[in-house]
């Protein structure tokens, strides 16, 4: 019996190897556009079907990968074997690919697309990638959750810092999700460095979780895990259109930025790739974005004429985007913001939550029974808990920022960076613990 097994195995593996040799190279098929994307299936399926109907000779092969895996995939394949198109939300992913020479410039823009949305260029000024849809950032909440916990609907970012929302908010981290980074940067640009960080720290202190995947936030709000989430608009709109008890609102401090599509250098079939990109930018391709389960904002202003009545339109002023997003500033301090957020918030979330809770409690007591000395202690606690470890002057210091942007990671650079991280992390922990202590003392005094 066992000998049968061994023989069978041997024959089976021989057959498998033969099979592998016979099966055609998957990317080699003539007239196939291969698209690497991080977008959900509803969206990619709609584009695949519509494109193939319009171009009978060309097939679309969708490779769904998260952004990190997508970049690694393109980067590690040898020229000639790479996919044709890269299509994703996170602008930083495209910056990285362009910097590595993995995106090809060509004249593929749709001329009817305006040059800018607000102050933000829709297409890459250098021509490496094109804006394919627009995205704004806002608040999504679960109506059942808010009702069950008797919470008011939030309107602005600042609302989320209020004590009533303690433990009901969720957000992702900018190091994990390009969209969260844009939200954070929008708040920092809209409110200014110091006030912006203070607001972010208070919102994070109120958060039940800092999720690892950006998708974790809308997912958690849809399922009722969290009450309110900071999300990109189509997450909220599409969930609502799919029947979930959720609402979405754009706060005043929001920015509208494009999600992009670009042609990969060293692709198998660049012509098919170009045809696909052209389709996604055409009137027809843009109209697909309006379907309820996709709910994204087209880059072609004319297409909004075909949208449902309450469909948000960034070109008509129905979304009041107060912030003129400065992408140079954002890029310049990207690593500082990301690293600071993780060290002060993501990795010290437990301590930040505890400090925030103590501060809320003391504030409630003080409101009932004023006590000057306690008020002073509480103010001190707030200061400790909600002040960023890097002040505005330092954040503007080019020499300081250069440390983070060093592409060559020598041992010295790592040492410098980790020393900074260590200080932020240790200071944050100490400050949060001390803030909780002071707030508790204030609460005792006002008892």
């Amino acid at each position: 019996m066992p000998s049968f097994n061994v023989r069978f195995l041997r024959r089976f593996s021989a057959a498998a190897v033969a099979l592998a040799a016979l099966s055609p190279l998957p990317l080699a098929a003539q007239g196939t556009a291969t698209v690497v994307t991080s977008f959900p299936k509803e969206l990619t399926d709609a584009y695949k079907k519509a494109f193939e109907a319009k171009h009978p000779g060309t097939r679309v092969e969708i490779l769904s990968k998260n952004t990190t895996a997508g970049i690694a995939f393109v980067r590690e394949l040898s020229p000639g074997n790479r996919p044709d198109v890269f299509w994703a939300s996170a602008p930083d992913a495209f910056e990285v690919l362009a910097k590595d020479g993995l995106l090809t410039k060509y004249d593929g823009a749709n001329k009817a697309v305006p040059a800018k949305i607000g102050a933000y260029p829709i297409n890459d000024p250098e021509g490496f990638f094109y804006g394919q849809a627009l995205a704004g950032y806002g608040l999504m909440w679960n109506t059942r959750y808010l009702k069950a916990n008797k919470l008011p609907d939030p309107k602005q970012w600042a609302d989320l810092a209020k004590p009533v929302y303690f433990g009901h908010v969720a957000t992702s981290s900018p190091s994990r999700s390009g969209t969260t980074h844009l939200t954070v940067e929008t708040i920092l640009q809209g409110e200014g460095w110091g006030k912006g960080w203070s607001q972010l720290l208070q919102i994070a202190g109120n958060s039940a979780a800092i999720t690892e995947r950006s998708f974790g936030v809308p997912d958690g709000v849809s399922s009722g895990q969290y009450g309110i989430g900071l999300v990109i608009d189509f997450f909220g709109l599409a969930a609502k259109n799919s029947g979930f008890p959720v609402e979405f609102v754009y706060p005043e401090v929001t920015a509208i930025v494009p999600a992009n599509i670009g042609l990969v250098t060293g692709a198998k079939n660049s012509d098919a790739g170009k045809r696909f990109i052209a389709y996604t930018l055409s009137d027809e391709g843009q109209e697909l974005l309006l379907s309820p389960k996709i709910s994204r904002l087209p880059v072609l202003p004319a297409v909004y004429a075909k949208a449902a009545k309450n469909y948000p339109n960034p070109f008509s002023g129905s979304i009041r985007a107060k912030v003129n997003f400065d992408s140079n500033l954002s890029e310049e301090r990207y690593y500082l913001v990301v690293s600071l957020f993780d060290q002060m918030i993501t990795f010290r979330h437990k301590e930040l939550q505890a400090a925030t809770k103590a501060i809320h409690e003391a504030a409630a007591r003080l409101a009932a029974k004023p006590h000057p000395q306690a008020a002073k202690l509480l103010a001190e606690a707030r200061d400790l808990a909600f002040t960023p470890a890097v002040d505005e002057t330092r954040a503007k210091d080019k020499g300081f920022l250069a440390v983070f942007r060093a592409t060559k990671k020598t041992a010295d650079v790592t040492k410098q960076l980790s020393a900074l991280e260590e200080r932020w992390s240790a200071d944050a922990k100490r400050n949060y613990l001390r803030a909780a202590e002071l707030a508790n003392q204030a609460g005792q005094l006002a008892r």
């Binding site: 995939f73 394949l77 020598t410 980790s418």
Partner: protein, 563 residues
């Protein structure tokens, strides 16, 4: 022992086997992993440096992460043992109805892709999951099952206890029943029989399982991430490696340290077994040792089994509900039910099922063959350095799937086999599975071989059998239970491997089910089709496990009847 000298070819054969196994590990594990992890030692200018390690030890967050990981891994081993040991003992030693069912159901937690399992667990045990919603509605309080490090221990114990269950059950079945009977004749019974005789004899199986749980939990990424716990080593490494556009050597430093620590843990586990003899010359007949339970014992046993099964199956129940739910949001149960998710999923699912069976079947077969070979080399050959094969294989537990996958693309990008580019073929996916799941099969095979007495092999050799024939007719059949445990663990855990799959899949036609589940689970319009595909994966893998069990049982049966 003299028999060895009569077979000069034997040593040569061992050398060939050792070289083969070593080559496999070198080509598919060491080289690809090093091509990525060398960043831990690379100075930006191209030189070699240990400076990044110095930076690592300067970070208090890292020290904290290390101790958190250690504590979580140890506690998970403790709780997983509390679940698995009674289950294994009950089903292997007592007249207990549905023992096979329990052993099959007990494997189910492993079939859950970690992120799907945690999603389903959140629906049931989360802050606003079914249990807590019901608790707060009726009793006015909630229990934080899924919060912080405690939550990680909770999920990990429930997820990985089958490692102990599988290996321990196989070991228990291998114990010579005469040992237990003599102990019983001498008056031992109940707990003391278990403590003094049965458990010590089954120790290799337990240590194999427990050390796997320890290393697996220590290196596990999925669970802490889904629970948003970042102050542990594996998430710290992952977060640094996957930051977009930022080469961070510290991420690889953590990977290297995790590899060293995993190997250290395995070495300690092997020390615990050193110098003792677990082999018996007879095989335990299942029928001989099964004892009836007294009524109160039966009550206790069935109660315990029901509780454990309910807990371990809760993610599956959650997933099943999700797969037929229209909208499920902030309520104990979904609002309305539908079957349309299954219709959606069946359209794409068929190719994926076949791919999963093909890749995982081949990968698990490679694993048990290699596992048997390496186990035999370690325990039976006199070649030096064989232990290092074990350690290298084990190190793959600590290498993140993403790192191995990047290494594969980097190493094999210009390699062609028969005119087909290896980087675009499904063979890489299959090899990634087999390398990543090899430690499971290896532990099971080593434990199984430790229980086979060498005199059986020597008897065959003395009777004139060649070494290969002795292996084929004596050793492998006697190890069958352990090999099966290894095959099953490798197969089902490979079926839910995600990180490497996501990177190595180069066309939709190659995609296995785990890719499909990921894809559908990312959908805003609800995770129904993903859940439906998850349920299908469960059924497919459970059936596979069940039939593999049946086949081996019938093989053992045939073997026992041979004269």
């Amino acid at each position: 022992m003299t028999s060895r000298r009569h077979h000069p070819n034997a040593q040569l054969g061992s050398v060939v086997l050792a070289l083969g196994a070593g080559f496999f590990l070198l080509l598919l594990l060491v080289v690809p992993a090093l091509s990525v992890i060398h960043a831990a030692f690379a100075d930006g200018a191209g030189g070699f440096t240990l400076g990044h390690f110095g930076a690592f030890f300067g970070l208090s967050l890292m020290r904290e992460s290390f101790f958190n990981s250690l504590a979580v891994a140890l506690l998970s081993v403790l709780f997983a043992s509390l679940i698995a040991v009674p289950l294994a003992y009950l089903t292997a030693r007592f007249a207990f109805r549905g023992a096979l069912l329990i052993q099959t159901l007990g494997v189910l937690p492993l079939i859950m892709p970690p992120f799907v399992g945690a999603v389903a667990m959140q629906l049931i045990f989360g802050k606003n999951g079914s249990v807590n919603l019901l608790l707060s509605e009726h009793l006015g309080f909630t229990i934080p099952f899924m919060e912080g490090l405690g939550g990680v221990v909770f999920v990990e114990s429930l997820h990985y206890f089958p490692f102990i269950l599988l290996n321990l059950t196989a070991a228990l079945a291998n114990i010579d029943s005469a040992m237990e009977e003599s102990a019983q004749n001498l008056g031992a019974s109940g707990l003391s029989l278990f403590r003094r005789v049965v458990f010590p004899l089954a120790l290799p199986g337990y240590v194999a399982g427990a050390s796997l749980v320890f290393v697996k939990v220590f290196d596990d990424l999925g669970t802490p991430l889904v629970l948003n716990v970042t102050n542990m080593l594996a998430p710290q490494a992952y977060l640094r490696i996957t930051s977009v556009g930022l080469e961070d050597p510290l991420g690889y430093v953590i990977s290297v340290l995790m590899i060293l620590f995993s190997v250290l843990a395995m070495w300690l586990a092997s020390l615990a077994l050193r110098g003792r003899d677990y082999a018996t010359t007879q095989r335990g007949g299942a029928a001989a040792a099964r004892r009836p339970l007294r009524w109160w014992q039966a009550m206790l046993a069935y109660g315990w089994v029901a509780l454990v099964l309910l807990l371990t199956l809760s993610p599956h129940i959650g997933l099943a509900l999700l797969s037929i739910a229209k909208v499920w949001s902030f309520s104990a149960l979904p609002d309305a039910y539908t079957l349309e998710h299954y219709a959606t999923m069946f359209g794409d699912g068929q190719g994926m099922i076949w791919n999963t069976l093909l890749y995982c079947g081949l990968a698990a077969s490679i694993d048990v063959v290699l596992g048997t070979v390496i186990a035999w080399l370690i325990l039976r050959s006199k070649l030096p350095m064989m232990k290092s094969l074990d350690f290298i294989a084990t190190a793959s537990l600590a290498i993140p799937g993403l790192v191995l996958a990047i290494g594969y693309l980097r190493t094999f990008r210009d390699v062609e086999v028969g005119g087909v580019a290896l980087a675009g073929s499904w063979l890489l996916i299959m090899f990634a599975y087999s390398v990543r799941r090899l430690p499971y099969a290896l532990r099971a095979c080593v434990a199984a071989l430790q229980q086979v007495h060498i005199s059986l092999e020597e008897a065959a050799l003395n009777l004139g059998a060649t070494r290969a024939r002795a292996m084929q007719r004596i050793v492998v059949p006697l190890m069958a239970g352990g090999i099966l445990a290894g095959f099953v663990t490798s197969f089902i855990t490979a079926a839910v491997e995600l990180s490497a799959t996501l990177l190595l899949t180069t066309s939709q036609g190659q995609a296995p089910m785990s890719y499909g589940i990921y894809l559908y689970m990312q959908s805003i319009a609800g995770r129904g089709p993903g859940a439906a595909l998850g349920i299908l994966a469960l059924v497919v893998v459970a059936l596979g496990t069940f039939f593999a069990n049946r086949v081996v049982r019938s093989l053992q049966h045939v073997h026992r009847e041979l004269p």
